[in-house]
Amino acid sequence: MANKMALLEIHRVSKQFGSKTIISSLDLNAEEGSIFGFLGPNGAGKTTTIRMIVGILRPTEGKISISGYDTVEDAIQAKMITGYIPDAPYLYPKLTGYEYLELVAHLYGLKNFKKRIFTLAERFDLAGSLEYFIDSYSFGMRQKLSIIGAVLPNPKLVVVDEPLIGLDPPAARTVKDLFIELKKDGVLVFMSTHFLEIAELLCDRVGIIDRGELASVGRLDELMKNKNTRLEEIFLRLLAERREEGSDERRRWEALADAAGRSKTC
C-alpha cells in the first residue's frame, strides 16, 4: 500500500469568495487504486474543494496536482485524466443522451467509443433512452448520464459530488460496483457524501472537513478500530469537539453523537 503513488495532491489550498474564506489551508493526498471519502456537514466546503480539483474554480492560494499536473498551469493535461460528476446534473437539454456522450467522447479525443457508450448505458438501464432529448429525462436519468459521461474517457481520477442522490436501488448498486471496479483498475475515486454507511462500505480513507478546515483524515479501518464505534458516531463526536466549549451547538451535537452510539441501525 505504502508504495502507491499519490495521484491527487492538495497542497495548502485556500479559497475565498470576495472577503469570505471558504477553504483555509487544506492539505490532502489520495493515492491511485483507492476510494477516498470526503465528508463534512452542510456548507463545510466539499463542493468548493471538488470544483477546485476539477479545474472549475481556481484556488486563491496553494496548489492542486493530479498525477503531477498542476490544475492551473497544466489544466488541459490534468483535465484529460479526470472525470467529474457534479452535485446537480445540469446537462444540455436540447441534445439527446447519445449526442451528449458523443460530445464528451470528442472532447476527450476518444476513438471508437460507440460500443463503450452502449455497454455503459446498458449497465444503467439507459440504453433505450439514449435517442431522447435530455429535457425529457427524469432527475435520476440525468444523474446516470452524467456518471456515464464521467467514466467514458477512462480517467485516472473520478471526482464525485454526492454520487447516489436520486438514483434508484439498482442504479445505486451499479454505481457502488462501478466504483469498486474502477479502484481495482487503479483509478482513484474521490467522492463527497453524506451517506456515512456508503463511506463505511466503500472507502479506504476518509477526510472530514468542517468550516473549510480539515478536521481529520486517515484510513477508515484505523479510525474505526481505535474507537470501535460506527462512523456516524465518530463523525458527530469529532464535529462536536470542534464546537466551542459549553456552546449550545456543542451540546446538541454531543447528544446526537450519544444517540448515534446507542442506536444499532441508522
Partner: protein, 565 residues
C-alpha cells in the same frame, strides 16, 4: 397579496444593484451612458428625417408634409406593435408556464386573479420596456423638427402606455388559448407560426402603405393628383397604431379635443384587451400544464428538417476535439423554437427588403442608385447588430449551469472562444454578403462599389460577432428563462448600442468617398476610397482582436461568476 409578491420581485432586483461591487457599478454607469448616447442619436436621426419631410412640398403644400409624417409615424407604430405582440408571446409562454415561481405560486393560497395580475405585470415589464426606450427619442425628434415644444410629452407618453396594453394583452391571451389545446412545447412551436404570420402581415401592410411611393415626391410633377390621393388615403384606422399616431399628432399640435378622442379610443381598446386577458386567464389558464407530451416526441420542425445531418457535416470540417462542440453549438441553436422563430422573422424582413429594392424605380439619376445602395449597407449593419443581440450575445450566458461540462473538460480557452466566434461570424457573414450582393445587383451599382461594400460588410460582421462574444462573456446573465430575456439584459443592451455605434461609425468613414463616387463620377477605388476601406478593415481587426482577448480573459473567470460571487 399582489403587492407583497411584487415587493419580493422588486427586492430581488434592487439587491442585485446594491450588492454589486465597484466594477459592476462602473459597468452600470457605462450602461446609462450608452442609453443616453442611443437616445441622443435616435433623436437626431428622427429629427433629420422629419425635417426632410417637412420640407417636401414647400409651404404651399404643407398638407403633403403632414401626410408624409403621419404615414411614416403610423408605419413606425405598426411595426412596433407587431414586434411587441410577437415578443410578448415569447415572454408570456415563459412567464406563465416556465417561470420557476409558478409552482411556488400554485402551492400557496393565492387567488387565481392575483397570480394573473402578477404575471401580467411581469410580462408587461419584460416585453414592453423596450418600447419606452425606442419611441420617446422619435417623439423628441419629431417635436424638434416641427418646433412644437415638449410640453405635450407627458400626454404622448400616456398614450404610448395605453398603446402598448392591447398588444401585450392579446398576445398573452393568445398564448393561454393555444396552450389550452396543446402541450407547452407545441405552443412554443406555434409561436413560430405566429412569427411567420406577423412577418407576412408586415409585408402586406408595408405594401399597402407603399412607403417607396411616399418617398417619391418627384411624382408630384407628373401625376400629382394620384400621389396626393395615395398619401391622404385613410390607413387601417381601427388599429391602435393609427390611434397612437393621431394622439401624438394632436397632443403636439395642442388640440386637446382630438387628443382626448384618440386617447379615449386607446383606453377603450386597452380595457377590452385587458378584459379579454383576464377572461382567458380565468377560464383557460391552468398551472398544472403538460410541458411536453411524449418524452420521445421531437418537434414538428425538427422532424421535418434534419438539422443533425447538416450540423454533423459542418462539424466534420473541424479537428475531432472541437467537432463535438461545433455540433452542440449548431444543434442547440436550431432546436430552440424561440431562436428558430427569430431566424424566420429576420429572413422575412430581409426578403421584404430585397423585394422592395427590386421594385424601386431607377430611371432616376445614377447618383441616387449609389445613395440607395449606401443606405442599404447601413441597413445591413443595423440588421447584423439586431441579429447578433439574439444569436451571438446570449451564447455564453446560455451555457450557464451547464458550463461545468466545458470548464472541467480538456478544452483550451483560446480554441473555445475562437470556436464560439466562428459559429457566430460565419453565418452572419454569409447572410450579409448575400444581402449586399443581391441588393447591389438589383439596384445596379458598379463593381467597384460592390466590392468595397462587401469588404465593409465582412469587416462589420467580424467585429460585431467578436464584440457579441466579448461582451457576452463579460456581462453574462444567468438563470434567465430564455434568449429573449438574456438579450434584453444590461449586457445585451450595452452590446446592441455598442454594435450600432460601431456600424454607424463604419458607415460614417465611408461617407466621403461614397459622396465622391456618387456625384464626382469617379471610381470608388480612388486614394480616398481605399484609405477609407483600410481604416474600416483595420478598426474591425482591432475591435475583433480586443474583443476576443477580452472573451478569453473572461472565460477564465466565467465559472467564478457562475459558482462564486
Amino acid at each position: 397579496m399582489l403587492s407583497s409578491l411584487l415587493k419580493a420581485e422588486l427586492k430581488n432586483w434592487f439587491s442585485f444593484i446594491r450588492h454589486s461591487n465597484f466594477e459592476d457599478k462602473l459597468r452600470g454607469l457605462l450602461f446609462v451612458g450608452l442609453i443616453a448616447l442611443f437616445f441622443i442619436s435616435a433623436e437626431y436621426l428622427s429629427f433629420r428625417i422629419f425635417t426632410a419631410f417637412s420640407s417636401v412640398g414647400g409651404i404651399t403644400l404643407e398638407f403633403i408634409a403632414m401626410a408624409l409624417t403621419m404615414r411614416s409615424l403610423s408605419l413606425f407604430f405598426l411595426i412596433i406593435m407587431a414586434l411587441l405582440f410577437f415578443g410578448t408571446m415569447i415572454a408570456a409562454i415563459d412567464a406563465l408556464y416556465f417561470d420557476s415561481d409558478i409552482d411556488f405560486l400554485a402551492s400557496k393560497p393565492i387567488s387565481k386573479n392575483t397570480v394573473l395580475l402578477k404575471k401580467f405585470i411581469q410580462i408587461y415589464l419584460t416585453s414592453a420596456w423596450i418600447v419606452f426606450i425606442v419611441v420617446p427619442p422619435v417623439m423628441l425628434g419629431y417635436s424638434r423638427a416641427y418646433g412644437l415644444g415638449y410640453s405635450h410629452l407627458p400626454l404622448s407618453i400616456l398614450a404610448l402606455f395605453l398603446f402598448t396594453i392591447p398588444a401585450v394583452s392579446f398576445a398573452s391571451s393568445l398564448v393561454i388559448f393555444i396552450v389550452r389545446f396543446m402541450t407547452v412545447d407545441r405552443a412554443r412551436e406555434s409561436v413560430i407560426g405566429v412569427g411567420v404570420v406577423i412577418s407576412f402581415a408586415i409585408v402586406y401592410l408595408y405594401r399597402l402603405l407603399s412607403p417607396t411611393n411616399l418617398f417619391a415626391p418627384q411624382r408630384l410633377l407628373t401625376d400629382a393628383t394620384e400621389y396626393i390621393q395615395e398619401l391622404t388615403l385613410p390607413l387601417s384606422e381601427e388599429l391602435p397604431s393609427s390611434m397612437m399616431t393621431k394622439a401624438l399628432l394632436s397632443a403636439s399640435a395642442m388640440k386637446p379635443d382630438r387628443y382626448f378622442i384618440s386617447l379615449g379610443q386607446l383606453l377603450i381598446y386597452s380595457s377590452i384587451a385587458f378584459t379579454v386577458f383576464l377572461l382567458a386567464g380565468y377560464f383557460l389558464f391552468e398551472t398544472d400544464r403538460p410541458v411536453s407530451g411524449n418524452a420521445s416526441s421531437r418537434g414538428l420542425i425538427e422532424r421535418m428538417v434534419r438539422f443533425d445531418s447538416f450540423a454533423k457535416y459542418i462539424s466534420r470540417l473541424f479537428p475531432q476535439r472541437m467537432s463535438g462542440l461545433v455540433y452542440k453549438e449548431i444543434v442547440e441553436n436550431l432546436r430552440d423554437p424561440m431562436q428558430l422563430s427569430h431566424l424566420i422573422l429576420m429572413a422575412a424582413i430581409v426578403a421584404l427588403h430585397l423585394a422592395n429594392l427590386s421594385e424601386l424605380p431607377f430611371e432616376i439619376h445614377s447618383s441616387s442608385k449609389v445613395l440607395v445602395a449606401f443606405l442599404n449597407l447601413g441597413l445591413v449593419g443595423f440588421l447584423i447588430a439586431a441579429v447578433s443581440v439574439r444569436f451571438v450575445f446570449p451564447a455564453p450566458s446560455l451555457e450557464g449551469t451547464s458550463f461545468w461540462r466545458i470548464a472541467s473538460s480538456p478544452v483550451d480557452s483560446k480554441n473555445y472562444v475562437i470556436l464560439k466566434f466562428f459559429v457566430a461570424a460565419a453565418p452572419l457573414t454569409i447572410f450579409s454578403l448575400l444581402i449586399i450582393a443581391a441588393s447591389n445587383s438589383f439596384i445596379g451599382v458598379g463593381m467597384d462599389l460592390s466590392l468595397a461594400w462587401c469588404i465593409a460588410s465582412i469587416s462589420m460582421t467580424t467585429a460585431i460577432s467578436a464584440m457579441g462574444i466579448g461582451i457576452g462573456f463579460s456581462m453574462p446573465s444567468f438563470h434567465k428563462q430564455n434568449v429573449f430575456e438574456i438579450s434584453s439584459s444590461p449586457g445585451g443592451i450595452v452590446f446592441l448600442i455598442m454594435s450600432l455605434l460601431y456600424a454607424g461609425g463604419t458607415i460614417l468613414i465611408l461617407v466621403l468617398p461614397t459622396y465622391d463616387a456618387a456625384f464626382g463620377n469617379t471610381s470608388y477605388l480612388s486614394l480616398k476610397g481605399i484609405t477609407a476601406l483600410l481604416i474600416v478593415i483595420l478598426s474591425s481587426l482591432a475591435i475583433t482582436s480586443a474583443s476576443l482577448k477580452t472573451a478569453r480573459m473572461e472565460f477564465e473567470r466565467f465559472t467564478e461568476k457562475i459558482y462564486g460571487l
